[in-house]
Symmetry: C2
Subunit: 437 residues, 2 copies
């Protein structure tokens, strides 16, 4: 969001005409190159994925398939094998016996647990699906820090929950606003959070933010913080951001049932083929287990064993994540370098400088994002669809673009960023011209 006028807005009509002509010529030159580049999703590059290949040799036909007393090759142990729960505990920040290790997708666990709140309720409270009928048709609401993660918003939208945007700040969600909304309305049943290296801003919630989330008064007694710690160990630098332990703060505040935390190894080992975790209060873990057991005898314990042996302790995780950072850091640095070189001082854009995670959040002039996305697509560069970082795909100021630099190799990424810079300048110049018409 720009508050001062950008360079194109400040130009004379003649200067602006010349600038637009030059930008148009450059656009045509790029179009002629017929690029095909993708900065759309937070997907590790093939070389980055390959660093986890040794895990595929951890188990073979002759391996010991026991984890302590648990035979990982047969049914049983619904809650997950002990060593995988220990890994879950270290990633989620709650005791191992408050964790479950289920399947390969934390998103699916989020889907299932929200589905449970919806259909049967939580901790003795009425099902969320009953709320509207009992309250004159007012829908259940969930707070969505924006810009945020589109798939989170998709899960709540799929249930018919109203996604209520709240602005992100450099300290996490705007807590004045979150506290106001949560205290004022018992239809507000929760908040989606990616607390560390947030998607897409890269912001890590401050301790103050985490504390306020744990301690705030909520009108709904069954308010739930959906704490998707997707990037809990995903530091780009040896010195990573520190995230306060929300379980400790919630326990102290007597709000432990409020916190449901998620993580997975999708961006630690293999995307989509990792293991996924949930951690919550003993009461919420018990109710979720009871529901899930109706459909699940036990999750894939062999994959749990593979992971636990490949990542036996926090040091092994840290060493492995340093390998990831080796691939990701140059890409994030390329984003900063290219955006600075192309847009610093223009007044056309702001962007974040994350120290971890998978995304950079970029804001252009008001009304620019969809046009920038469309122009980039025309020029062969796929971006996350403009608006995707807002519920319903609706970015009211139409400024935000999520940059996902992890997948392309460095030359492709740099080429794509050059196109993005050019597109932002071209659209900004056009917008400045249209303002005068």
């Amino acid at each position: 969001m720009q508050t001062t006028r950008n360079i194109y807005q400040q130009m004379s009509d003649e200067e602006l005409g010349a600038a637009r002509a030059e930008l148009a010529a450059r656009v045509e030159a790029v179009r002629a190159r017929g690029l095909k580049l993708d900065m759309a999703r937070g997907k590790p590059s093939p070389a980055q994925v390959d660093i986890s290949r040794p895990m595929l040799s951890v188990l073979n036909a002759d391996s010991d398939l026991f984890d302590g007393a648990v035979d990982c090759s047969n049914y049983g142990c619904f809650e997950g094998i002990p060593s995988a729960r220990a890994l879950a505990s270290s990633l989620l920040g709650c005791p191992a016996d408050q964790t479950l290790v289920l399947g390969s997708s934390s998103l699916l666990i989020e889907h299932d647990i929200l589905g449970m709140f919806w259909r049967v309720g939580t901790c003795g409270h009425a099902p969320w699906s009953d709320y509207a009928a009992a309250h004159g048709g007012r829908p259940v609401k969930i707070l969505c820090p924006v810009p945020g993660y589109d798939r989170h918003f998709g899960i709540s939208a799929d249930l018919g929950i109203e996604n209520v945007p709240v602005p992100m700040t450099e300290e996490g969600p705007d807590m004045d606003e979150v506290e106001r909304l949560a205290a004022a309305d018992d239809a507000v049943k929760g908040i989606w959070c990616v607390p560390k290296y947030s998607n897409p801003t890269g912001v890590t919630y401050t301790e103050e933010t985490v504390r306020r989330l744990a301690e705030m008064r909520t009108a709904a007694p069954d308010f739930r913080i959906l704490w998707d710690n997707a990037y809990c160990v995903h530091d780009l630098y040896d010195e990573g951001d520190e995230l306060a332990n929300i379980f400790g703060l919630a326990r102290a505040a007597g709000t432990e049932d409020r916190v449901v935390a998620f993580a997975s190894t999708s961006k630690i080992t293999f995307p989509g083929a990792g293991v996924a975790f949930v951690g919550a209060s003993p009461a919420v873990v018990a109710e979720f287990s009871a529901r899930m057991k109706a459909g699940l005898i036990s999750a894939d314990k062999l994959n749990q064993l593979r992971h636990a042996r490949f990542l036996p302790d926090v040091d092994a995780v840290r060493a492995h994540m340093r390998e990831h950072a080796r691939h990701l850091r140059p890409r994030f640095e390329a984003v900063e370098r290219k955006l600075s070189a192309g847009l610093a001082g223009t007044g056309c854009a702001t962007w974040t400088r994350p120290r971890g995670g998978y995304f950079v959040s970029f804001d252009g002039p008001a009304g620019s994002a969809k046009r920038v996305g469309a122009l980039c697509a025309e020029l062969g560069v796929t971006l996350t669809p403009a608006g995707a970082t807002f519920p319903g795909g609706c970015d009211p100021a139409d400024t935000n673009i999520r940059i996902a630099p992890s997948y392309p190799d460095l030359p492709d990424l740099e080429a794509a960023l050059d196109v993005l810079v050019l597109a932002v300048r071209a659209v900004a110049a056009d917008l400045a011209y249209e303002e005068r018409a």
Copy 2:
């Protein structure tokens, strides 16, 4: 269910007294042995599981991780990799593009798809959850062939669906009854089926039964056949039972949307760590995919790849299943041998002689099953809880016991069967005595 009087009922009071004294002495002798044996669940034995160990060496750190054009080591390909869908197609009996390969548990897919019918409906029809409110509180019902699979009944019960028992015959569910119930009441929304080597009877539905299911008139336009083909290739003998292809019959009858089929490799490779499949009409697959995509980017494609390479075609599956049969057949034959030796001609029991699957269904005298289960437990032999094969755990005649012979080794199994025979005789004699009082 016994129609004629058993040997204890036919005895004089004196003979019965002597028989009971002798049985009581034998019970005490067994009790003194302090056995600890388990015939409760359909769990392969450790030696049987070991035949799939070579699959754990199929992928290693140096493997090609592509399946055709699909990179199995990264996100994408929600529907499952091509070679795993081909395997799904051969097990489910529908075209590969009507299959999805999702996670490791078919039970969980059943849970999810029934949850979808419940919450949002299917093929444009109202959600099942709306039915009761629109019909004076009458609940949605699902037909449950009994004796049947307790976990199926648990899934529907968890949603608040009323499980309606219909008797199994040697040809599958009693189709006169099924047709009558399905045609009479639009609250009847489906039927649970294990069509081949049914759990626990081992019955394979006849072609006539399958045809009637596909063709029958249903009052509910969104009636669904939940076709859990869990034992589709699980033959004990080279000549297996033949199951008619329900998709072909339904397509011919114009009822293709009615059939939703499930299978998994849990009893082909590793229990709980296999891959699970669903197959349905293009419309139902599309609606289920759309819902599941809200929570799942893609399932574990590395495990799909491992399976597809280990079981590349129908011949490989067949050869592998012959290895399973080598472990299972002697156990099923021990059941037949021990039950025949101990109970044939007594009029106290009937049981099934399956040619595949994991269970034998046993019926003792009316009112005996819970007492037999309790006595076996006292003597150190765990059975599936009496009644578990009926919705709500309620076997009205209290006769049915599910025998799961797969897990114990042969000497243990024989010892457990000796205990079961003794317990049935002891309870039958006690019941005969109590009748006279």
